[in-house]
Symmetry: C3
Subunit: 263 residues, 3 copies
């Protein structure tokens, strides 16, 4: 198995400082923007139909997250994806709560077929996109990430995207290769939007010029290693979140390479 080379991921991200165009959900806009800033990117949240097609091409990456979708937002997501594709800007899809309602499953399935470089979700979301019953319970998965490995491979082959399934262990596959990552902390699941943060940081790595597989591995490892730093001084989920963003800001490639735990 060829593992991605992480020795310069953060340095590349910070030296390029990619402009990352986000069409994401209301719950996490603030924490996503702060995570992107801490990682070294320049976030912008732009969703109006009147401007997404103008904005997507000037960004280095696009993040589409359906967490609080509604009809006008879905229209903007599709328009932005088309504009990004036309301009050669890579984009990542976060199919939040796919499987929980027909509306989410259909929207996420349509977006997944539009050519994202990466799709990141929990087990339920990835299984739902792959056409299986995924056991969604609202925005949470009732199944562990290991249960979604086959679904991830199939989804990757069908869409051409790298697929990342996050959970206690994170799995990244391009349909052939598959790596497991064991970084992180259970407290991540007690803070809203940490999955969305992972998606956005992978988007930033895409914007820094990393290949999709490498971007997914680097982004997930950045968040996971930062979480391991943050938990040491946390008294609960809120101080953990403060420490998480601080740790992302202080993280460098040496700590990333020393900290990665392959599963």
């Amino acid at each position: 198995m060829e593992r991605p080379d992480l020795t310069s991921a953060i340095d590349r991200l910070r030296s390029r400082g990619p402009l990352v165009h986000n069409i994401t959900n209301y719950v996490v806009m603030n924490s996503t923007a702060n995570a992107l800033l801490a990682a070294g990117a320049s976030p912008a949240m732009v969703h109006a139909l009147d401007e997404v097609a103008d904005f997507a091409p000037i960004a280095q990456a696009l993040v589409i997250n359906i967490g609080t979708l509604s009809a006008p937002w879905v229209a903007a997501m599709e328009k932005a994806a088309e504009a990004a594709n036309a301009a050669g800007v890579p984009w990542i899809l976060d199919p939040v709560a796919a499987g929980a309602t027909a509306y989410r499953t259909e929207t996420a399935t349509r977006l997944a077929a539009m050519g994202p470089a990466v799709i990141r979700g929990n087990a339920s979301e990835i299984m739902s996109l792959a056409g299986e019953a995924g056991g969604a319970r609202g925005v949470d998965s009732t199944k562990g990430s290991e249960a979604a490995q086959d679904a991830a491979r199939r989804l990757a082959k069908r869409t051409g995207a790298v697929v990342a399934v996050t959970g206690a262990v994170d799995y990244v596959t391009d349909g052939e290769r598959m790596v497991g990552l064991a970084n992180g902390d259970p407290m991540l699941a007690r803070v809203t939007g940490t999955g969305c943060m992972a998606t956005a940081i992978i988007g930033a790595c895409l914007g820094a010029g990393l290949a999709p597989f490498d971007a997914a591995v680097a982004g997930l490892t950045m968040l996971g290693v930062a979480a391991e730093t943050a938990i040491r001084h946390a008294n609960g989920p809120a101080s953990f979140q403060v420490g998480l963003i601080d740790a992302l800001h202080r993280l460098d490639d040496a700590a990333l390479v020393a900290g990665v735990r392959w599963a």
Copy 2:
């Protein structure tokens, strides 16, 4: 006066981990989700007309908060309330700034008549819903909670809901019984959305199977006791808010029972 039994409220909440469907305002979506996670619930923010009727029945409770209402959101709130009613899912109404504009008063009045299990507001909001001049000043009340006790009783009798008026002392009534709760800290009023947090945590208690009166008392006490823990180490409102969520996460039934202060 029969006081609710709080000895197993948190245990019930955490063992059930209720899925709580929120249609709430933009300002507090993130802090509400984090408060619900800290309390032991599983929050989901879902507002699209295309899916609220599918989502409400699979949740254990619904929270409707009109803080940043607009026409499409109000339509979704009404549709979700109907679906929750049809499925027997209890719901709570937060009539943010009712009384401040005619639009808010009318919307909140219409929702209050649709059968919420609990209505939680400040004095102005509850007085406005009861048909009195409530002295709203934006989202704040110019009157203390004690001034709204009669209005709360009348509103409870008219709607069949348990009504909670929050302030320096919180009052909970079903139209007959009335209890006062003296927990909390004035710093709660210097952090945006703590009233909305109270509403959401009461919603989580409803989702855990507590009766509406008990859910209101338990939810308000959880937030109040956590606030008393948080203020001890706070340097201001932001560190207080971090401590508040951390304290909610660490709170257990023994601390709740030891900490409750009946007024």
Copy 3:
């Protein structure tokens, strides 16, 4: 040069506790509300077309921020500005990312012509509004604030607004007078929405009855001095943001006057 008298700015703000009506972007609603509370104001986020014209006249100031604009929100911004003008309520415009897309530039230009008391932006935004190529890169400026001094003067003369350009040094001009302020810390640029916070706090100062020029200088100095306090105990951008709000809450006029650094 006549420098504004800051000796009672915070005292006036806290004794009046102005109700500040915000039509702002999703990313910063929560942090803006908390910054306004920490400064001593009473924030309300109200954007529905059905109520903005009722709400604007009862507030002491209005903040219009186009960060996540879309067609219905722009309509509400224009309606609110008209209602504020009719009622003599001062308002401030934050032209987020003007220059990045034609839609933003046109919207911001139209609003700037409607009579704001103050316009606050970064160099790119102010240069774009003044009709120059501003070098916008998403929501960030590629130019330093000093490059926008002439544009700021011209924009102030054309619109009648006081114009504030923020950056390493903040400049405030009414078209004739110009002062520079050197407070703050580079970490402000690593937290999302601190520019929006500055705008909102200036709005609060307008609501406290300060003249536009004085309000801009007082508001920027409040945030800048608080940042200098916060950085001392910060481990990164998230703990800095917590400390920033705490420091705003604890700031008084004596510290403001002692801390201001004229450039």
